[in-house]
Subunit: 122 residues, 2 copies
Amino acid sequence: MSFFDQLKFNADGLIPTIIQEQSTGRVLMMAWMNRASLEKTIETGKTHFWSRSRQKFWRKGETSGHTQTVKGIAFDCDGDVLLIQVDQIGPACHEGYKSCFYRSVEEKGESFKVTEPPLQTP
Amino acid sequence: MSFFDQLKFNADGLIPTIIQEQSTGRVLMMAWMNRASLEKTIETGKTHFWSRSRQKFWRKGETSGHTQTVKGIAFDCDGDVLLIQVDQIGPACHEGYKSCFYRSVEEKGESFKVTEPPLQTP
């Protein structure tokens, strides 16, 4: 059975996709895929997403060079979330941080802090 | 500045939340929070979510005992995804698996396999 038959895309035809660095286990980002971007990801071995804000298909790193090479693709029990293991070149975050999750909550939500330096300026 | 000011809940008042086991780096699940469940999570140190299918506020493990103790809360550059580090008791998945991501894609999407045994039968 195709794994596509296991997936549930939302009303907009999208599925949230968690990107994790295989070598470190670090969660790098979450982005959205439609069926075409997932098929392209599988076909090419490089992550492709659907930008909701730009309503545009894009290959991660197409302008920055910060591509993601796919090492594994898992999906959850409900079939409505993907988890993709990657090798990441450079920062995953468009703000220059390794991970988009570079800020953490402090003091019961009263404040937050940046937990790492950027790898480069955006 | 409160970290709540950094967050963007979607049109339904929800934000996707990735749950990662702190000790192993394993991504366990993704679920949705509304502001009330996030506040309750911060206040109690145990994860609380919003069930979209049941339209109900729930504490993870309230019936199964498989609770998640919060070790850290991060949020992404766009403020529209949360990443919570936890200590997980028992399986995170309602199907009895440690992680909801217990199936992986094979053969270019033609098939998939279960990658681990369940910790217990559901």
